[in-house]
């Protein structure tokens, strides 16, 4: 395995955290609870697999006609007074947002959850420019106080216990310690309420962009996005270009699937479509509505003839929730904006294959992700394809030679047979070097006993039958 600093850091973090039994227990507990409610809601669908097929087809059509849908989306939104911006990359998107914020002489910015914002590090950019940015989503707020990246893109603070959150609030907000999730939530509610009301700018993401009507759709539970998009005078929405859905009625399929797989709820608390700034006759709403559409190498993924469907992702987090790798290494180990199986699939495309290929290799290819995906992205097969691409581009020479040598042995049964006999002898001496730096099988024997070559192999048994 090649050792780019990114790969080395990943392996180091993975090794440390997989031994953390407390972390393992916390994540297992959280995901078990989720599994129960998710399965209960899936059961309410009359045909869950049919819904997956339908969702997959709608999204496949959408991304294969991305230019048509984006053009219509922009046209419709602009007709209702929305302002559409196009950003080729993160730097451009940051600049666009900074320009808007500066032009408004903003004092305070409130944000709801924006994964695309994490991707372009918008908070850092705004703070460096001297603006106060407050995350309103409870999980994101907690991460912000801890100066930590989100652990999971639907449940950002999943790795923390209530005790840790209580300590955090005591330290940063001066509140009394409490063991009650309800009290902790109320603390955050109280602090953030003031922020909504004072903020001049609200920054949101979007789960979907509806081409037919020029609307964005936001799925949430807390109501913080509702408030972010209601009270401040300027609303800026940042989203990736792949979020398009052709029709408003497509939401009738996607909102329940997103809720079910994302949170185990048929619909989350608030599913809201925004189609423009405050319209004449309406009681309130932002005076300006800006939508920033971001490419940032999504078009590279679009150009992939094998992995294009990865752009269908609706960011539900369903694959994270079933991934045994994710469960054991946790969200921070990935070191990238998007974690879990989808993160492992798209990060090499968005950030470079050779630097990030360790993500595609760190998988047992169990396929649970592919099974869980509501839009049927072929996730684990993409990991295989990316492995092939990484190696074809840059073979690891000792691996290549090993597989060639091993291939020669496998193609000569007498050699293979001899190999097994030698193994039988070798294993007598192996205990002397087992799990020491001299042990060639140390990767295995660090944690496991080696299997033994049997006193009589299958072919030996077969041959002595005659």
């Amino acid at each position: 395995m090649s050792t780019t600093p990114t790969a080395a850091l990943f392996k180091e973090r993975a090794t440390t955290i997989t031994k953390d039994l407390r972390h393992r227990a916390v994540i297992r507990g959280a995901l078990q609870k989720y599994g129960v409610v998710r399965d209960a809601k899936k059961a309410r669908f009359r045909d869950w697999q049919g819904a997956r097929t339908a969702a997959s087809e709608v999204k496949w059509q959408a991304i294969n006609h991305l230019d048509t849908h984006l053009a219509q989306f922009a046209e419709k939104l602009e007709a209702r007074g929305g302002i559409v911006h196009w950003a080729r990359d993160g730097a451009e998107a940051r600049q666009i947002i900074l320009d808007i914020v500066r032009s408004k002489n903003a004092h305070a910015i409130v944000k709801s959850k924006v994964m695309t914002g994490e991707e372009i590090h918008i908070n850092d950019a705004l703070e460096e420019a001297g603006f106060e940015v407050v995350e309103s989503d409870l999980g994101e707020y907690i991460c912000q106080l801890r100066h930590e990246a989100p652990y999971h893109f639907v449940f950002p603070a999943m790795h923390l216990t209530r005790g840790e959150i209580s300590d955090l609030f005591t330290e940063k907000l001066g509140t009394a310690p409490t063991n009650s999730p309800e009290e902790l939530t109320m603390i955050a509610r109280k602090v953030l309420r003031d922020k909504y009301i004072r903020a001049d700018i609200g920054i949101s993401g979007a789960n979907f962009a509806i081409a037919e009507t020029g609307m964005i759709s936001i799925t949430e539970n807390e109501g913080n996005a509702r408030l972010t998009c209601a009270l401040p005078k300027t609303h800026i929405a940042l989203l990736g270009i792949e979020k398009v859905l052709p029709k408003l009625s497509d939401l009738a399929l996607f909102l329940p699937m997103l809720g079910t797989v994302g949170c185990g709820q048929l619909l989350t608390g608030y599913n809201t479509m925004y189609g423009g700034p405050k319209q004449p006759g309406e009681a309130d709403g932002p005076e300006e509505f800006h939508v920033v559409l971001l490419d940032n190498r999504r078009t590279d993924l679009l150009a992939s003839t094998e992995q294009r469907d990865a752009l269908q992702c609706i960011r539900c987090g369903g694959c994270l929730n079933v991934c045994p790798i994710y469960k054991n290494i946790g969200g921070h180990t990935y070191g990238a904006t998007y974690q879990g199986p989808i993160g492992s699939v798209i990060t090499p495309h968005l950030r470079g294959l050779q630097e990030w290929k360790h993500l595609v290799f760190c998988s047992s290819l169990c396929g649970a992700c592919t099974e869980a995906c509501p839009v049927k992205i072929d996730l684990h097969h993409h990991l295989l394809q990316s492995r092939r691409d990484a190696i074809t581009e840059k073979p690891v020479w000792w691996e290549k030679l090993t597989f060639q040598a091993v291939g020669m042995v496998f193609n000569r049964a007498w050699l293979f047979s001899l190999g097994m006999k030698l193994g039988r002898i070798g294993q007598i001496f192996h205990p002397l070097i087992k799990n020491t730096p001299l042990d060639p099988a140390r990767a295995w024997t660090r944690a496991r006993e080696l299997p033994k070559v049997a006193p009589q192999t299958f072919r030996e048994w077969w041959n002595q039958r005659k």
Binding site: M1, R28, K327, F361, R387, G407, F410, W444, A447, P451
Partner: protein
């Protein structure tokens, strides 16, 4: 029927009883078993590591030898998936593509062969123990094996099957993954074994010895009160 049996490399070397059991079961059912000795490996390690050209070098002789078989039974979910699902992909656009598809069409994982193809589920076996079943990922998700082993186990006299909560969760073997990311692999295995222990079972049964090899390795290192055994061995426990 003339059944061509594909014996995975690790069964040949380390778990020959599983292979022998499969042979005896098939012969008892009245079929002739053909074991092509020149075949040793399906090529999955190279494939999973991204070395597809090196995989083809090993896969071509496999296809060549299996193309005239009446039916091919593979004693592992992961090797079964390799030959049945991935060989056609490996040879896509190449001269061997048609043969790969033809061979894939006549491949069966062992339990699937018995239940689906032969319509057999009672082999007259007895195994008076409490067991739990581990669903190997490739068998489960690439080949759709779930009910078949359970149907077979249901007819085994004296056997009590208790399902573990994490029956379908990957145990962390994943082939070369177990060596490339050993700490993650071991942590996943520990999760599987913890779930197995919760059932109170004496044995973990599976249709995939590669998974069991990893689980047994952890069991032995940690001294856990569990044993692993291949499905074929359980089903072969017949009074002579």
């Amino acid at each position: 029927m003339n059944v061509t049996l594909f014996i995975p490399c690790f069964i040949d070397a380390c778990f020959p009883k599983a292979g022998a059991s499969a042979v005896q079961i098939l012969e008892r059912l009245g079929h002739t078993v053909d074991y092509p000795q020149q075949l040793t490996c399906c090529g999955q390690p190279a494939f999973n590591s991204g070395y597809w050209e090196e995989t083809r070098t090993v896969a071509r002789p496999v296809l060549e030898r299996l193309k005239d078989a009446e039916v091919v039974v593979i004693l592992s979910g992961s090797c079964g998936a390799m030959i049945k699902n991935f060989y056609p992909e490996l040879f896509q656009g190449l001269p061997e593509e048609a043969v790969a598809k033809a061979v894939a069409a006549k491949c069966y994982e062992f339990s699937d062969f018995l239940v689906t193809r032969l319509g057999v589920s009672d082999l007259g076996a007895s195994f008076p123990h409490k067991v739990t079943f581990h669903d190997g990922c490739h068998g489960r998700r690439e080949l759709g094996i779930k009910a078949q082993p359970r149907q077979l186990l249901a007819s085994v006299r004296g056997l009590t099957l208790v399902e573990m909560e994490e029956a379908e969760t990957c145990c962390g073997f994943g082939g070369t993954f177990s060596a490339k990311f050993p700490s993650v692999s071991a942590a996943m295995g520990e999760g599987k074994l913890a779930s197995a222990l919760e059932t109170g079972a004496e044995y973990i049964v599976s249709n995939d010895s590669s998974c069991l090899m990893h689980q047994q390795g952890l069991i032995d290192r940690q001294g856990l009160p569990l044993k692993t055994i291949h499905l074929a061995e359980v089903l072969n426990n017949v009074q002579p």
